[in-house]
């Protein structure tokens, strides 16, 4: 670890998508007009595929080393060098970031390809791909950065691209407002992130080791123990600040409000940015800084609690939504909550594992829903769908696989990863059975709303209008192929991290072993394998109950949903349906508050400061007006009197003006004589 190997090709993993973005961004409009969209597609997908291949190469490079030596770094150049602040532009790949770059470039590549089909009719095809490539670049920067500031570039960069892509169809203000919301909410998170960086930097500076580089922070982190600021431990405060950043990016309570609105963007964007990659950045960041979080138990509790609350809260909202993408959005928030739950009980490996499997099945779900929307001509309301399985067999099949995975059906990827998190929540030193219990409840809710969606969209009678029904068609191969790949991934991706109970079937837990050099070993404390299996069965049964309920309500229609929605006068239902009124609360407190303050500020400027300035000008003007009066009547009177007197005297003395130089000379001489006399008499 102390002498990392300089590996020059790593930078190209990050930079290739940037090149694609710059190329398409600057020349795209012309290329598209002159040569057609295929050129754009080539320059968009090519770099991402290239990055993927390089990532695989890096992965194999790591594999070929001893676990302790799995570390590659590419220092490009020193970025900021100023006194104690030395920040390099440097990319590193260790087992953790290797997982991330594979997910980002792999799933990202598939989504790029899918987009070629999905966005084919759009006029701003080039702009879409320019931003998508830029996003890939920023995301790769985020996961490979070797220090916090460089990570922050990626962190804000993905936010920018997310903003630009949510508001991609900018003609409608609904979209642009959603983009603004996303960016602004993320800014609040970034505010915390940057303060966290500052705090870490200066606290280490206190010990003479100022740095923002991950490895060095890890090296000196023990120095920070016991240090306090404002009565709080420095590590606790710093991790809380950073966690604020994570809640922004990963849409956790209280900054979760932007993600559902972000569904206004094109569906592949929702898949890539708002499901598979960007929103997981918060989880990645916490795991990346696990050495800090492990030293701050208070923060860990907060993380776990927020994660669980988000998981449950979002799941309850998802129960009531009717927009196909919004259900998925809340499901994403909920699943991210699980990841934070995992991170919060110090099961970092489990969090990353779930992150990876989630990327597969959620991308598959989003792309599937995109396929559905594509076929339905833009319709997103599930109440107008139904029976699509006959028209879109491939989409149906892959969607079903993904739903099974997210619901936690045994042997699918989602089952293993979610179960790992639940088990850790139960058994880890930071966890309690209570966390497990609520986690299981959430799992049941998840199973219910996902199957509800499956039944509403693909089963039953088609409720679309006649016009739409005629045009129903399966999507082209360029779209279904990525779906198939992702569906396969949704099943097999979990096998590498299967717990010991399934060892005979899938071998040892390779995933945990892979991450071990970074995040340390898996907690095997408390509870035996038997207990783990019992818990597993319990959670599966809860999920099955959820599925059954959905089956009764939306497939068999033997149970009316109204029976639940009208419970307690429908108050819980309305609460869920209106997302707990958080949006309204934020709007009235923060947005309107800021605007009100802004108006106050402008008013002060216009009416107080300018009043004083203009007032002083006016006072001056008034004084000079008075002065003018005085001048006109008093001074001018005097002056005129003097002038008149002079004139009169002039008439008298005009004879003095002889034109004779001599007489002038006499006068001058007289004056000189007087002066000399005075000087002689009174001068010193």
């Amino acid at each position: 670890m102390d002498h990392p190997i300089q590996t020059d090709y790593l930078r190209w993993i990050v930079l290739l998508p940037l090149l694609g973005a710059v190329w398409n961004g600057l020349l795209g409009a012309q290329l598209q007009k002159r040569l057609g969209k295929w050129v754009i597609s080539l320059f968009a997908c090519g770099p991402v595929v290239g990055s993927f291949l390089l990532s695989v190469a890096a992965f194999q490079d790591l594999l070929s080393r001893e676990p302790e030596q799995r570390f590659l770094i590419d220092r490009v150049y020193p970025w900021i060098t100023l006194a104690t602040l030395n920040v390099d532009v440097a990319f590193w790949v260790d087992p953790l970031s290797a997982v991330m770059i594979l997910v980002v470039t792999g799933i990202g590549g598939l989504i790029h390809i899918y987009s070629v089909g999905y966005m084919h009719d759009d006029r701003s095809f080039w702009r879409y791909f320019a931003f998508l490539n830029l996003f890939t670049f920023a995301m790769l920067m985020l996961v490979t950065a070797d220090n916090l500031l460089l990570m922050f570039i990626g962190w804000e960069g993905v936010g920018l691209c997310s903003y630009a892509l949510i508001g991609f169809w900018y003609h409608d203000h609904v979209n642009t407002r959603a983009g603004n919301k996303a960016f602004l909410v993320n800014r609040v998170g970034d505010f915390g992130f940057i303060l966290g960086i500052f705090l870490i930097f200066w606290s280490l500076d206190h010990h003479g080791h100022a740095t923002v580089t991950f490895r060095e922070i890890q090296k000196f982190v023990s120095l920070l123990q016991g240090q306090e600021i404002w009565g709080i431990g420095v590590i606790t405060l710093a991790t809380l600040f950073l966690f604020l950043g994570a809640t922004g990016k990963s849409a956790q309570i209280p900054l979760h409000v932007w993600l559902p609105d972000a569904m206004q963007g094109p569906t592949p964007v929702s898949a890539l940015i708002h499901a598979a990659t960007m929103v997981t950045a918060g989880v990645y960041m916490i795991v990346r800084l696990h050495f800090l979080y492990s030293l701050a138990p208070l923060t860990l509790h907060v993380v776990a609690f927020i994660g669980l609350a988000t998981a449950l809260g979002a799941a309850t909202i998802a129960l009531t939504q009717t927009d196909i993408k919004r259900v998925l959005a809340y499901s994403t928030i909920s699943q991210l909550g699980y990841m934070f739950l995992g991170a919060g009980v110090a099961a970092y490996g489990a969090a990353i594992f779930h992150l990876m499997t989630h990327a597969f099945f959620k991308a598959c779900l989003f792309l599937g829903s995109g396929s559905v929307i594509h076929a339905m001509g833009g319709e997103q309301d599930m109440r107008n769908m139904g029976g699509l399985r006959r028209h879109m067999p491939w989409t149906f099949l892959t969607f079903t696989v993904a739903v099974l995975a997210i619901a936690g059906t045994p042997l699918t990827a989602g089952f293993f990863s979610k179960d790992e998190i639940l088990w850790q929540a139960f058994s880890s030193p930071h966890g309690t059975p209570l966390l497990w219990f609520f986690g299981v409840v959430g799992a049941g809710l998840t199973a219910f709303y996902m199957f509800r969606q499956l039944f509403l969209v693909f089963f039953g009678e088609c409720r679309a209008n006649h016009h739409v029904k005629e045009h129903l068609h399966e999507s082209p191969a360029v779209m279904t192929l990525p779906l198939v790949v992702l569906a396969v991934g949704s099943i097999v991706a979990g096998w590498i991290g299967a717990p010991a109970a399934f060892a005979p079937m899938f071998g040892p837990n390779l995933f945990a072993a892979w991450l071990e050099p970074v995040v340390g070993g898996r907690h095997e404390a408390q509870g035996s394998a038997t207990l783990e299996e019992i818990l597993m069965v319990l959670s599966v049964s809860v999920a099955a109950a959820g599925v059954y309920l959905a089956y009764r309500m939306y497939f068999k229609r033997s149970l009316s949903p109204e029976r639940f929605s009208s419970l307690a006068n429908g108050r819980p239902y309305r609460l869920f349906f209106n997302k707990y009124y958080v949006d309204e609360f934020y709007q009235s407190v923060f947005v309107d508050g800021a605007l009100k303050l802004a108006r106050v500020g402008a008013w002060i400027d216009e009416h107080i400061i300018d009043f004083i300035v203009d007032g002083s000008a006016k006072t001056t003007a008034f004084v000079s007006w008075l002065n003018g009066l005085f001048d006109n009547y008093v001074i001018d009177g005097l002056v005129n009197a003097v002038a008149d007197g002079t004139f009169w005297a002039g008439g008298k003395f005009r004879k003095v003006q002889t034109g004779n130089i001599n007489s002038y000379l006499y006068v001058i001489l007289g004056a000189v004589i007087v002066v000399i006399i005075v000087k002689l008499r009174y001068g010193s």
């Binding site: 005009r654 003006q657 002889t658 034109g659 004779n660 001599n662 000379l665 001489l669």
Partner: protein
Amino acid sequence: MVGLTHYLVIGAILFCLGLYTVLTRRNAISILMGVELILNSANINYVAFAHYSSGSLDGQIYAIFVIMLAAAEAAVGLAIVLAIFQLFHTIDVAATETLRE
């Protein structure tokens, strides 16, 4: 012993004579002569002060400038006199008092 005072007195005498000339003469050329006397008296003072008081050459330099300007003044002044003579056929300043109101 001859000292600063002697020179200053000579200067004063010349000045007064020049002034008297200027005051009493009606002939423009005579007035110019008076002015020359005044200038010479000033020059004597300059050079005398330079010699006895300051010890530097500045006074002499000024004297030279005064001489230069006197030459210029004489040339222009006499040209004017000639022009006036041409116009009025006299150079009696009393006859040319057109400046009078």
